[in-house]
Amino acid sequence: MLQMFLRRLFLGAITVAIVSMIIFAGVEILPGDACTAFLEREAQGRVLENCREELDLNRPAVVRYLDWASDALRGDLGVSANGQRSIAEMVGARLQNSLLLAACALIVGVPTAIFLGVVSGLWRDRPVDLILSTGAIFAMTIPEFVSATVLILVFSVWLGWLPGIVLTSANAPASEFFPEIILPVVVLAMVMTAHILRTVRSSVIEVMNSDYVQMATLKGVPYWRIVFRHALPNALLPAINVVALTIAWLLGGVVVIEVVFNYPGLGRMMIDAISDRDLPVVQAIALIVATVYVGVNLTADLLTMVANPRLRTLYTRK
């Protein structure tokens, strides 16, 4: 088991390393560099040369990559091209905000999704299932900015119950984001609930049709005991991986929501950095998001392994 864990960790590290090379190479291929971005129209002749000299941009790409990578390993992500501020500090606050948003969405979304998915699967083809399944398809297909805008219109503009936009500054403590964070959380929870619900629903249907559930029925096990003891521990295993993907998406891929609600998260910082051509920041955020993806998926795989006796015993016995 430990050996297995170490091997997966090793492979995960290699993945992150490869991704970091791709990110670095991608940024390298783009025309221009930190200096041209920073100096803008003055980026010519001596000034540009001096700037490049100062930032060590004239050394070969490989050397600069190794430098960047080893600094990143130590937690030093360099300084931004615009304003020369420490990226680690800038990103730190944003990452916290993104984590706050993700955590709220998960706390609301995951239990709701699992509960509704199970209900939908158990009452398959009944009205409650049809309503939930159709609702899930709507939630998945309507673009987030549309549902976000509609919610803002209804709850902020018409009813005036909730603030429609986040005005709190990026460095404020978590508690100050309430109640501004509620609407973005609702929109995110809706989308993720739809995905998880559908996975859980089909998995519940499959398990309830399995031979062992039939056997439990014929053994005289009461229905709800079958559901909770025999069916759900098996049916929820596939949900772990979907939840993991959702977490990764919440931390790096919810740019649209952050822009609509003016929420100071990682995604919006990335967009801002791209439009400012602040390449060091772009690089750093891409690396963080990639690491989160790999880390979350690794955790999900390990959790599945621990929760599934078939996989668990594969590595502990024999």
Binding site: D211, M215, L218, K219, G220, V221, Y223, P309
Partner: protein, 677 residues
């Protein structure tokens, strides 16, 4: 027997209801009475409704089915009128079911102990403090070694036979008065099956419970049941004592079924039962069997026969039961075709060694050698042109593995394969040229998995024809039709999809695809195991005809010794990936035998109420072969001593080419075996 019945089905019809309100009956007017202590066998082909009957006796219907007519009672309770609470208290208590596939019927996330305790909590009046002791007692009762360890295991950590025993223990937890068994030994090895059946017989005698034994296997039925009910297309077509049904059946279908079973005592090919059963609701007004019956008359087409006492007194559903004894109920009398077996070897395996495990990257870097025994080792066999070699052995004996290696799907770890006297065959399929690929074809066990469900039969057959012969246009079309006709299907199948074919037809397409390449060597991997016996007989006949017509060489892998006997010229017996015995089939099936062959043959069940299996070795599943000595040392009933543990046994070859790998001199072995039989 005057006791009140335990289980009674009266005039029970069950079916689907279509949208327009019409019904498709799956069971039609079933009457079945099971008295205390009685064991009844329900036989029939897949789709005959026998499992539905067993489930109906528990008041359980598969999704979409409903009761159209009649009732099912258990000790006077109308099973379809009870509420959920009452059903729950009966099911698994006094009325228990042992499922077909215990591996999938045990909840994968719960330990064995927890699942058994649950059964006790639901149905036993014991105090909870006694549960764990009772669980151990139950596991001991089904003869599982080390019950304490078993309780802590998960279902997937047990072998098939052990899972089946756990399912039996679970059924016994409620102290049942009636036990329903749905194909409880299908899919198990012969030795395991024989042991489970003996256990069930003993349990029935000890506890006095009634049993309803559902199976397609007449051999198993013959061993366990007093009375047999034959089902066809959702109807009971014949009912009687086991002896009557198995030795003097009065229904044409029952006779055909018996004739289609390959028997160990009979080296001939079994007789195929043509046609296929009607789909649910497709039986029409007449007899459901009319299209497949040799006695069919106009009367049979227009009027449905009633279940009435026939000759000998047993109830039978046939207008012409009095003439049924004119129909054969044994094999065709055809020997397997003896195409001229040439002397030139088509295939020779030399010291073949196969391993599944590859050393890990770290081990390879450290230069470590794999010291574990190989999965398959030391296989040397030569197969002559036109010969059929049967490979038999229990699951895990490496028989399919060897086929995969010959086909190039699994490169060997050592040794070589020579094909048609050429230089050694390249190890893997990627390295082989198109000519080699064409000349060696493989047919798989399950056509549902081996035929692409989205390709029409034409597309399936065109692939080898285009690839190997470059055919196109009408030539291609004509050739497809010709091949289909050779497997007796005909050109109108070309546009169909595999899902529109029956199991037997699908396997014919798989055979056709292999023969489309015009191969010299065809590797058959359990090709009839997924088929009903009557269909199996037809596929065996087809393989035999193709061999006679084309002089093809077969390597035929099966766990069924009788099937192998019917088709093979020579038979090789494998245990744990090592050869035990090889020789002409008549010799291998006669004495003297390798002790393992003897165990295998002793466990085979014949559809004859007078034979009993000879169980001389435990049905232990060994996970890996011993590092040295004889591979069978741990289970051998004739083990002679330390020599078996340390020395690899020598080949003892007789003049007729029959060779046995054993430390016991053949004459001694022969004498001992004759004395025991």
């Amino acid at each position: 027997m005057t006791d009140t019945p335990v289980i009674q089905l009266s005039d029970l019809s069950i079916g689907f209801t279509g949208r327009a309100g019409y019904t498709l009956p799956v069971l039609r007017n079933i009457d079945l009475t099971v008295r205390p202590g009685e064991s009844i066998g329900l036989v029939g082909e897949s789709g005959s409704g026998k499992s539905t009957v067993a489930l109906a006796a528990m008041g359980y219907l598969k999704r979409g089915l409903r009761v159209l007519n009649g009732r099912a009672t258990f000790e006077g309770h109308d099973m379809f009128a009870l509420n959920r609470k009452e059903l729950e208290s009966l099911r698994g208590g006094h009325l228990a079911l042992i499922p077909q596939n215990s591996g999938q019927s045990l909840t994968p996330t719960l330990r064995i102990g927890a699942q058994l305790t649950e059964a006790l909590r639901l149905h036993s009046r014991l105090d909870p403090s006694q549960f764990s002791a009772r669980v151990l007692e139950l596991l001991g009762q089904v003869r599982l070694p080390d019950p304490q360890a078993i309780t802590r295991r998960y279902p997937h950590e047990l072998s098939g036979g052990q899972q089946q025993r756990v399912a039996i223990a679970m059924a016994l937890a409620g102290e049942p008065r009636a036990l329903l068994l749905d194909e409880p030994t299908t899919g198990l090895d012969v030795t395991t099956q024989a042991h489970i059946l003996e256990l069930l017989r003993d349990l029935a005698r000890e506890t006095g419970m009634a049993m309803v034994y559902v199976s397609h296997d007449l051999g198993a039925i013959a061993r366990v049941c007093d009375r047999v009910v034959v089902m066809y297309a959702g109807e009971v077509v014949m009912e009687g004592s086991a002896r009557q049904v198995l030795t003097a059946p009065t229904h044409p279908y029952a006779r055909g079924l018996l004739a289609s079973i390959p028997k160990l005592s009979d080296p001939h090919l079994p007789m195929a039962l043509g046609g296929r059963p009607p789909a649910p609701g497709g039986a029409g007004d007449g007899c459901a069997f009319v299209d497949r019956c040799a006695l069919a008359s106009d009367l049979c087409r227009t009027s449905r026969p009633m279940l009435a006492p026939g000759p000998g007194g047993a109830p039978v559903r046939c207008h012409h039961a009095d003439r049924a004894d004119t129909l054969p109920m044994t094999s065709t009398g055809d020997h397997a075709a003896r195409a001229e077996v040439g002397t030139a070897p088509v295939l020779s395996l030399q010291d073949l060694e196969i391993r599944y495990s590859k050393p890990g990257i770290l081990d390879r870097l450290r230069g470590l050698q794999d010291t574990r025994p190989a999965t398959v080792d030391d296989i040397t066999i030569t197969i002559a042109k036109g010969e059929t070699l049967g490979l038999v052995g229990e699951s895990g004996s490496g028989k399919s593995t060897i086929l995969k290696t010959i086909a190039g799907l699994l490169p060997p770890a050592g040794g070589e394969i020579r094909f048609d006297g050429d230089a050694p065959l390249p190890r893997s399929v990627e390295q082989r040229g198109p000519d080699h690929l064409r000349r060696i074809q493989l047919i798989f066990q399950n056509p549902d998995d081996s035929l692409n469900p989205r390709h029409t039969i034409a597309e399936i057959l065109e692939q080898p024809l285009k690839l190997y012969f470059g055919l196109s246009g009408t030539a291609l079309q004509d050739r497809c039709v010709e091949i289909l006709e050779r497997v007796r299907l005909g050109g109108h199948y070309l546009d169909r999809l595999p899902s529109q074919l029956s199991g037997g037809e699908k396997q014919r397409v798989a055979v056709a695809r292999a023969f489309a390449a015009n191969p010299d060597l065809v590797l058959c991997d359990e090709v009839t195991s997924a088929l009903d016996v009557s269909v199996q007989a037809a596929v065996l006949e087809l393989l035999n005809d193709l061999k006679a017509a084309q002089g093809t060489t077969y390597v035929f892998v099966s766990h069924d010794l009788a099937v192998v006997r019917a088709l093979s010229d020579r038979v090789a017996v494998l245990y744990q990936g090592r050869l035990c015995e090889i020789g002409p089939s008549a010799e291998v099936y006669a004495l003297p035998s390798h002790p393992y062959t003897e165990v295998l043959l002793g466990a085979v069940l014949e559809p004859d109420p007078d034979t009993a299996p000879k169980l001389t070795a435990d049905d232990v599943i060994e996970l890996s072969p011993p590092a040295k000595g004889c591979p069978f040392q741990r289970r051998c009933p004739r083990k002679i001593g330390a020599k078996c543990d340390t020395d690899t046994p020598p080949w003892q070859t007789r003049d007729d080419g029959h060779a046995i790998r054993c430390h016991i001199p053949l004459d001694d072995l022969h004498r001992q075996q004759q004395a025991d039989s």
